[in-house]
């Protein structure tokens, strides 16, 4: 049984990494599309000779992305009642992520016996926020008439899984490790440094349950909305004010696209010809 959990856990990590890379690669390789912008306010088009202006808005975009991710600003402004739980859940989730990094680093490089209770409080607060937020989201998804609309039933299972992960982690720390940080850190050290295979093959039920549920979640993660973050903030989806200048990489890509064959087959399109040819021929319309 322990072997299965071990294999499943490391296998799920490997799967998650590979599938995420595949999915992100799909986005990165997306063809340059026609510009289909949306603006929150004034743009360069308010200026005469706008193409001479340098977009230079990387910093602004990055700041916007970070603030959106951290505070879920759009939900705050547009859907406040849902935001409260989303914000609690995501804040807790980000803190838990940091907490795990802290756990791994502390377990490996610092003397575990010196660990105080601060880390424990940090973990409990993060877990508590996630649990409250996650439960709230699930309840709202079940009972709120608007939030129920078209919500896939598999996503209810996703929330259940997340709550199980959180609850199992909390119970493992409180009951299995008896809220003792040095014990917890020693356990983490064994996991991270691959010491004591025997210990790994025969894990205790509480941490094994937590790890088991996490493994399931890792299998799902690459297909979730999380990798979409790359898509939203990457590759010209919004506020792509870089003009297509003569001789630029953008122009080269556009030319490549126009050189592609066109396969649509309505009467006003001549399939098989290149875009470049089709859009210059209008005689058969």
């Amino acid at each position: 049984m322990g072997g299965i959990v071990l294999f499943f856990f490391y296998g799920s990590i490997l799967f998650c990494v590979i599938a995420s890379v595949v999915r992100i690669t799909k986005y990165v390789r997306a063809p340059l599309h026609l510009r289909w912008e949306l603006y929150r306010g004034s743009s360069v088009y308010e200026l005469p000779d706008w193409w001479k202006e340098s977009p230079g808005r990387f910093g602004e975009k990055l700041t916007g992305a970070v603030l959106d991710i951290l505070f879920l600003r759009e939900f705050y402004h547009r859907n406040r009642s849902f935001w409260y739980f989303l914000f609690l859940f995501h804040t807790g989730f980000y803190l838990l992520f940091l907490w795990h990094i802290w756990l791994f680093i502390t377990a490996v490089i610092l003397p575990v016996e010196s660990a105080g209770s601060g880390g424990l409080v940090f973990g409990h607060v993060a877990t508590g926020l996630s649990l409250i937020g996650g439960s709230g989201i699930l309840i709202k998804r079940i009972f709120d008439e608007e939030l129920k609309v078209y919500y896939p039933r598999t996503h209810y299972l996703k929330w259940l899984l997340i709550l199980l992960i959180l609850a199992a982690g909390f119970l493992a720390v409180v009951f299995h490790f008896d809220s003792n940080m040095p014990d917890l850190l020693r356990y983490v050290k064994v996991q991270v440094t691959f010491q004591d295979l025997e210990h790994k093959l025969h894990p205790a039920l509480a941490p094994a349950s937590h790890v088991f549920f996490v493994s399931f979640w890792l299998l799902y993660l690459p297909f979730s909305h999380i990798p979409q973050i790359f898509f939203r903030y990457y590759q010209h989806l919004r506020w792509d004010d870089v003009p297509n200048r003569k001789g630029s990489a953008i122009e080269r890509k556009v030319k490549e696209h126009l050189n592609r064959p066109i396969n649509w087959s309505a009467p006003h399109i001549q399939p098989g010809k290149r875009w470049e040819e089709v859009i210059r021929e209008v005689k058969d319309l």
Binding site: R35, W36, Y45, E74, Q228, L237
Partner: protein, 532 residues
């Protein structure tokens, strides 16, 4: 109006019975005491055309005569649908489309942003996410590998039959592509783009599109010169008339140059302005003359009409007109193209065309609004705001504002020259569409205009009335400034439908007209308060 929640799978219900029958004045409270009615199709129309979505026929899709014909159409639709999620076939919009299809978390935040959904009394089929959900389920089941099994497992199975295809075609034309939903979406999902992309396989594969957009629209523009039917010869006649009127107004000869090689700018105006609102062209001519700018119009095929209906339904037609406009500018050796008061022409030529035009065709293109702002706000023409001392509000064309970020120039102008300027609420990038977006303003077959007035345009009319709440008295003439020909067309129909001119003296017009009306040089008022 039939109520009760329509489910996603209801779209595959067999038979002719509409999913929704809009027949009365329910829904959002009426903006005026005007009786709102949507005429049902005649028996003859019902027998001939598909109408099983909501009893409305925007496209006039003929009913298939046999099961064999139905199956053929379904297969053809499926063939087109396969091309949508293909980066090779649909490179033009693959990325934002796939992102939108894959990223919706069904929080329904967008629903409250949609004027059509709200004005209809929150009818499920008009919910911004409804058509996306239908499209997503069909793509999942019929196009993705293993889709049939996963659709069954997730309970999101949907059979692709002719009723689904016919309803989906109509449903794609119940959205004005105003993209307010996309602006609202916390994740940037663009349900309006999904509407637009749903139109694409119908047009680019089956050859199904509203007649006004394709046959009489883009095809006629490329063949004859303009969707208005105006030929180059008719243009010249029209311009002559406009020049005569200009002489009457200003007391001197102002030439409107046509095909002047080497001019600084090629002004691309909407041909609808030459015909229906010549005062807009006159106003531009007066301003450009006062500024001493070297400019020209083109009399080449499609060169005197800035419209590009392809942006609403068909990438190939879109690109053809973009290239045509650029070729004309190149031929005239102008330094740049300036787009007049036409929202979608702005968006198409300045923003979208930037990923179509290359090399010598990539001629600089800009909006006329910064020019007008410079003229007004930097004192390049002498103005007397007291000449515009009447209530004025501003309609924000979606294409200009939310879709390309031209928000302030028009406001700075109005604040400067209109003492009684007041904003609509909401405005700017959060504005509501006039209800004529994505081709609706020119689509007028069967009972679609009734739907357009009572549902699509209802929110805008309410906004207009609210903006003039303090001056409802019909003795006070009021002006809705709409710097977009398409929006003007819709406002004309909307204000007529609700009898706003008769009841409240609400008129509409462009931005340039208000500037010229305030010009010190003109003795007589330029705005005549005539209904066009």
């Amino acid at each position: 109006m039939r109520t009760g929640k329509t489910k996603v799978n209801d779209i595959s219900r067999g038979g002719d019975e509409p999913l929704l029958e809009i027949s009365s004045q329910d829904g959002m409270p009426r903006p005026s005491d005007q009786l709102l009615t949507i005429r049902p199709l005649t028996d003859e129309q019902r027998n001939r055309f598909e109408h099983s979505l909501d009893g409305i026929s925007a496209l006039g899709i003929p009913k298939p005569k046999s099961k064999g014909e139905e199956d053929k159409l379904v297969q053809s639709f499926l063939s087109g649908l396969r091309k949508l999620p293909s980066p090779d076939d649909n490179w033009t919009f693959w990325q934002p489309l796939v992102y939108s299809l894959e990223s919706c978390v069904r929080c329904q935040t967008c629903s409250d942003a949609c004027p059509i959904y709200l004005a209809s009394g929150k009818q499920e089929i008009y919910r911004p996410t409804y058509r996306g959900e239908v499209l997503r389920r069909i793509i999942e089941k019929y196009i993705r590998a293993g889709g049939k099994i996963s659709s069954w497992l997730t309970g999101e199975e949907m059979d692709l039959t002719w009723p689904v295809v016919a309803r989906l075609a109509e449903l794609a034309y119940r959205c004005t592509l105003c993209r307010r939903c996309a602006q609202w979406c916390p994740l940037g999902v663009d349900n309006a783009l999904i509407s637009r992309e749903t139109r694409k396989p119908f047009s680019q594969e089956l050859g199904i599109a509203p007649k006004e957009l394709h046959d009489l629209g883009t095809a006629q523009q490329l063949r004859k010169g303009s969707p208005t039917g105006m030929t180059p010869l008719a243009l010249r006649d029209n311009i002559e008339l406009i020049e005569e009127e200009l002489e009457e107004i200003t007391g001197r000869k102002i030439e409107i140059p046509i095909d002047k090689e080497g001019a600084e700018i090629l002004l691309l105006n909407n041909a609808g302005d030459f015909l229906s609102w010549p005062e807009n062209t006159e106003a531009f001519a007066i301003i450009l003359d006062a500024l001493g700018i070297s400019w020209t119009l083109s009399s080449d095929l499609a060169g005197y009409d800035s419209v590009n209906y392809g942006v609403w339904y068909d990438d190939v037609q879109l690109a053809r007109i973009v290239v045509r406009h650029a070729e004309i500018a190149k031929k005239l050796k102008v330094r740049k193209i300036v787009v007049g008061e036409c929202g979608h022409a702005h968006k198409t030529l300045l923003v979208i065309a930037d990923r179509i035009l290359t090399g010598e065709l990539n001629i600089p293109r800009e909006s006329a609004l910064p020019w007008l702002e410079d003229a007004v706000c930097n004192g390049k023409i002498q103005l007397d705001p007291s000449k515009n001392d009447f209530p004025v509000t501003l309609h924000d064309p979606c294409s200009l504002v939310r879709l390309m970020g031209i928000v302030e120039p028009q406001r700075r102008i109005l604040r400067k020259i209109c003492p009684q300027f007041r904003e609509m609420e909401p405005h700017g990038v959060e504005n509501y569409c006039c209800g004529g977006g994505s081709g609706f303003a020119i689509m007028s077959a069967r009972n679609f205009p009734d739907w357009k007035m009572t549902i699509a345009g209802r929110m805008k009319f309410k906004q207009v009335l609210d903006a003039f709440q303090d001056v409802k008295d019909p003795e006070t003439k009021k002006y809705v400034c709409a710097p977009c020909s398409n929006c003007k067309g819709q406002l004309r129909d909307l204000l007529s439908y609700y009898q706003a001119r008769e009841k409240y003296s609400i008129f509409y017009g462009g931005l340039a007209e208000l500037i010229v009306n305030a010009m010190v040089d003109l003795e007589k008022p330029f705005i005549q308060w005539e209904w066009h």
